[in-house]
């Protein structure tokens, strides 16, 4: 099972994402943003970091990278895509996910272990979890506040597009405590917290993040 991880100029967590894929039992494939080549991968991870230095808006310039045109086209046909932190910002900027991420309401970078509630356990990236499960994975962002108009938020909630929600405190002022959302078909998922940093007892607060990467392996087999 080949899981592509795209590196943009300024990506930071691509190596951790590759490690998480390997620990889950998949084969990580390094992809470069400037090449129109998805190398026949079965799914794609957009990692965290500060692509293009967060210039213009976080994720805005990376969302227009050559390889992202291929990702958008294939995602609309069902290719599973996971955006973590900066990757989530890229997916919103690319129009694959609703809403936008902007400056934290308190203006501070926030870095801590975060409790999340899983609300959708039927997406390509969350089937290893149970609906209502509490998981603990790190969150670290300065522009992680999920925002949209009230009408859009009502639509996102009404369509059941919220995948994970912040519990026991909202780290960045995100509207309605939303930490992650999915596409209409449940194949594209974006979230601000970092499941790839919670895959081993030695380095993470838990191994709760591994489920994102084991889920997609099942989704690819069943596709």
């Amino acid at each position: 099972m080949r899981i592509g991880i795209i590196t943009f100029p300024g990506s930071l967590d691509d190596v951790d994402a590759a490690r998480a894929v390997r620990l889950a039992g998949g084969e990580p494939v390094a992809l470069w943003h400037a090449e129109h080549d998805l190398q026949d991968v079965d799914a794609v991870v957009l990692p965290g970091g500060f692509s293009y230095g967060d210039y213009l808006r976080a994720g805005a310039i990376a969302a227009r990278a050559p390889l992202m045109q291929d990702v958008v086209e294939r995602a609309r046909q069902g290719l599973p895509v996971l955006g973590i932190c900066n990757g989530f910002q890229v997916l919103c900027e690319a129009g694959l996910l609703p809403g936008a991420l902007t400056r934290n309401s308190h203006l501070h970078f926030r870095n801590r272990d975060q409790v999340l509630g899983v609300e959708r356990a039927d997406t390509a990236w969350t089937s290893s979890y149970a609906t209502g499960q509490r998981i603990v994975i790190p969150v670290k962002n300065g522009e992680g506040r999920f925002v949209a108009s009230d009408g859009d938020l009502d639509r996102i909630e009404g369509e059941g597009r919220v995948v994970v929600r912040y519990l026991d405190g909202n780290p960045n002022g995100s509207s309605r405590d939303i930490a992650g959302v999915t596409s209409e078909n449940g194949r594209v998922v974006g979230l601000m917290p970092h499941p790839e940093h919670a895959v081993e007892d030695l380095t993470g607060p838990s191994t709760d993040g591994l489920g994102f990467f084991t889920s997609v392996l099942k989704a690819v087999v069943n596709a």
Partner: protein, 93 residues
């Protein structure tokens, strides 16, 4: 022009200057603007009741600007229409 004196949209020497202003939509809270407002209050400027922070782009364009193309640039890259309003100012002369 290059010394920074130029302030608005216009044309000179076959090059047009187009200005694009981007600001968060009114319903999206602006913590940076609120931080500026807080600083103004501490400096004694109690009369300022709201600050909204935005972005100001100046584009140099060869020849006569194509309004449709610039509108597309403004709405698809310079601003994120999910959360931002955008104003395009074309040269009037």
């Amino acid at each position: 022009m290059r010394d920074g004196r130029w302030r608005g949209p216009g044309s000179l020497g076959g090059v047009s200057h187009v200005v694009v202003d981007v600001v968060l939509k009114p319903e999206i809270s602006d913590p940076q603007g609120q931080a500026v407002l807080g600083a103004l209050g501490r400096l004694g400027h109690a009369g300022v009741t709201s600050v909204r922070q935005g972005k100001h782009f100046v584009l140099e364009v060869d020849g006569t600007p194509d309004e449709a193309e610039l509108k597309q640039i403004a709405e698809t890259l310079l601003a994120n229409p999910v959360i931002e309003d955008v104003e395009l100012h074309l040269p009037t002369d």
